[in-house]
């Protein structure tokens, strides 16, 4: 009788059995990996991040205008037009204007006029967003592109 510890040659039957087992395992593994790809859409379903805010003449220097739908404030100065995001950099609530700056209702972050953090848990200043112009002159803001703080687009 062959000892248990002696290696036995793999018989044809064993080989076929093992091959079947492994191919089943691989098939399951590969299809699982394929399915795991599903939950993340290739294209994000929300509206385009670039949006029109109006004609340059709508923003005379020295004024500001909030676009609540987009959670942005358009700041117009003599240097040009800038866009300040009103989304708190802590956990995404909408900040409120207090006159001297902004506060966040959620965990009390405080920001100054140009968005620097002056208190609370927010880890960084409010974002300034890229401003550009469409061929017809309309001012565009890109919610997904950040620029330097207080950077103004010359119209």
């Amino acid at each position: 009788m062959a000892g248990r510890l002696e290696k036995e040659a793999v018989t044809r039957r064993d080989f076929l059995g093992l091959a079947g087992l492994w191919s089943a395992f691989l098939a399951i593994l590969i299809s699982t990996i394929g399915m795991l790809r599903l939950p993340r859409p290739r294209v994000s379903p929300e509206a385009s991040s670039i949006f029109r805010v109006g004609k340059p003449t709508d923003f005379p220097p020295g004024t500001t205008k909030d676009i609540p739908d987009r959670k942005v404030r358009i700041v117009a100065t003599n240097e040009g037009i800038g866009a300040l995001s009103l989304v708190c950099t802590h956990l995404g609530c909408i900040v409120r204007d207090t006159g001297e700056g902004f506060t966040c209702p959620c965990h009390g972050s405080k920001f100054d006029r140009i968005g620097n953090v002056i208190g609370g848990p927010a880890p960084r200043s409010l974002k300034w967003l890229a401003v550009s112009q469409a061929p017809d002159g309309t001012i565009l803001v890109d919610n997904a592109r950040e620029t330097k703080q207080a950077e103004f687009y010359r119209v």
Binding site: P45, D69, C93, C106, H107, G108
Partner: protein, 516 residues
């Protein structure tokens, strides 16, 4: 007995009721020990129990019925949840209205919605209590490590189930809680930004959030995901995990208990625990075949015959606990309505915007650093909990509360210490501000490393290590750490729930909230 003497058609019909009955109940009335055992193991649903239990396990103070309460609550949630599904529509436009209809129009809708809410709150509360009872009675020790890990899985699933449900009404409450949770998932960006890493890393930091929302914004794709998780995936996973959890209890030799002759059950439960059966009267049935596994089984323990039959003693106790839970849940549902704020408004944050209560302790930590408070500290706490049975390998009997008087003393001291530390963690920043107020231009990395949350966790860890060194016992160290986190969690949750108002400001009472 199946009867139809002459096998005539008429005879078959006459014997039908009895034959029908016998096809369900395949044994006599459960009056003898033998038929009682049969009642349990010939029934698919009851078979998950062992046929016999140890009287110690029936004592109220052994478990406080907490695990069975959890199952009761889960059953209530399943039934009320299916009823709610009849009307609820997981769409941005209709979700809120369908809940409103359930609340105001559908007959009994409000009661069912309330019961569902309350059972969910109870389940979250009890999962903490049950974990604490298992911990303090050393019931996680070998051979029950696996069941403890399974318990951690159940713990996470319970919180996840409850949280996903909280979003579904799509009111202001759920919407802003969801936004906060989604951003916690993206909070690695806090570290990435503070380190000044390039833009590509932000994509990486956003990945969990986008996976969670199915988009980079909170919207329909997110709602349908939570709906699917809440009504399908999580309940299925929980049901399976509960099944294995209970089955493991049997395989691990019943509930943990001190060895030796069973002690008469305490006052009140005495009536539920009969006299142990002396060996000569024990049932002749052998159970060995049904539990062919390594190690002890419930029936190969030292005192196999000092057990009592599960039918009726265990089943009766379980039914009692189920009834109590039903009663509490129904009473709460009649007294107090589930909240429904205004419809979700992405432009106007709820002020204060609060997560469900069991996350308010975490939210309190978040209000210093989202990354540390929301992911690092809770993550470490969870891993620490999961590893408890592997860090504390001292072999001592399970089923003794606090492992005796020394453990009781250490638990009390740790709780007192933890309470003082947690109160200071809240009081110091509330009164004196924190690093940013003191050094306005401080680098964010300092705040990530040193914030009240990380410091509190470090203090608790240090305390436990000191206790472990002083006593030379890993069990005592574990008792200290668990007690610290339990009390810290409780206090922070209390502060987040009752003492935080608009702008996350500190208010002793809601009457002091500024009007707005």
């Amino acid at each position: 007995m199946p009867s139809s003497e002459n096998n005539s058609f008429w005879g078959n019909i006459k014997a039908m009721p009895l034959n029908f009955y016998n096809s369900f109940i395949r044994h006599g009335a459960p009056t003898s020990d033998r038929t009682r055992s049969q009642a349990v193991f010939s029934n698919f649903f009851l078979h998950i129990h062992s046929t016999r239990v140890h009287p110690n396990s029936l004592r109220l103070t052994a478990t406080w019925g907490l695990g069975v309460s959890l199952i009761s609550q889960f059953i209530i949630l399943t039934i009320t949840g299916i009823l709610l599904m009849v009307y609820y529509v997981p769409s941005l436009d209709l979700a809120y209205d369908s809940i409103k209809d359930l609340h105001y129009v559908v007959p009994a809708g409000r009661l069912i919605r309330n019961a569902h809410r309350w059972a969910a709150h109870m389940m979250v509360l009890f999962v903490f209590l049950h974990m604490a009872r298992v911990f303090y009675t050393s019931s996680y020790k070998s051979p029950r490590e696996f069941n403890w890990l399974l318990g951690i899985v159940l713990f996470v699933l319970t919180l996840a189930l409850s949280l996903t449900g909280y979003f579904l009404p799509w009111d202001q409450l759920g919407y802003w809680a969801l936004l906060i949770v989604a951003n916690i998932l993206g909070s690695a960006n806090e570290l990435i930004h503070a380190l000044g890493l390039p833009q590509v890393f932000h994509k990486l930091g956003n990945f969990p959030k986008e996976l969670f929302l199915g988009s980079s914004e909170v919207g329909q794709d997110a709602l349908i995901r939570f709906y699917m998780l809440h009504v399908m995936l999580f309940p299925i996973l929980i049901s399976m995990a509960i099944g294995v959890h209970i089955w493991r209890i049997r395989k691990d030799g019943g509930l943990g208990r001190p060895e030796g002759t069973p002690v008469a059950a305490g006052k009140g439960v005495g009536t539920m625990s009969p006299e142990p059966v002396p060996p000569e009267k024990a049932p002749s049935k052998t159970y060995g075949l049904m539990a062919v596994i390594k190690g002890k089984t419930s029936h190969t323990g030292l005192n196999p015959d000092e057990t009592v039959s599960s039918w009726p003693y265990l089943l009766r106790a379980e039914l009692l606990i189920f009834m109590i839970n039903m009663l509490i849940c129904l009473a709460l549902a009649m007294i107090s309505d589930a909240p429904l704020k205004g419809p979700a408004n992405p432009l106007l944050p709820e002020n204060p915007a609060k997560a469900p209560w069991y996350f308010l302790g975490v939210q309190e930590l978040l209000s210093y650093s989202a990354f540390v408070g929301g992911t690092v500290v809770p993550g470490i706490a969870l891993i620490g909990l999961a590893l408890v049975p592997f860090l504390d390998r001292e072999n001592e009997p399970a089923g003794v509360w606090f492992s005796g008087s020394e453990g009781k003393r250490i638990t009390l001291w740790s709780m007192a210490f933890a309470a003082v530390a947690a109160v200071l963690t809240v009081a110091i920043p509330v009164n004196f501000g924190w690093l940013r107020e003191w050094f306005p231009h401080i680098n964010q990395l300092f705040i990530i490393a040193f914030n009240p949350g990380s410091i509190l966790a470090a203090i608790y860890a240090a305390w436990s290590i000191i206790v472990m060194r002083k006593t030379g016992s890993s069990r005592m160290g574990a008792l200290a750490l668990f007690s610290c986190f339990l009390i810290g969690f409780t206090i922070l949750t209390y502060v987040g729930t009752f003492l935080r108002g608009p702008n996350w400001g500190f208010y002793w009472s809601t009457h002091d909230w500024p009007a707005h």
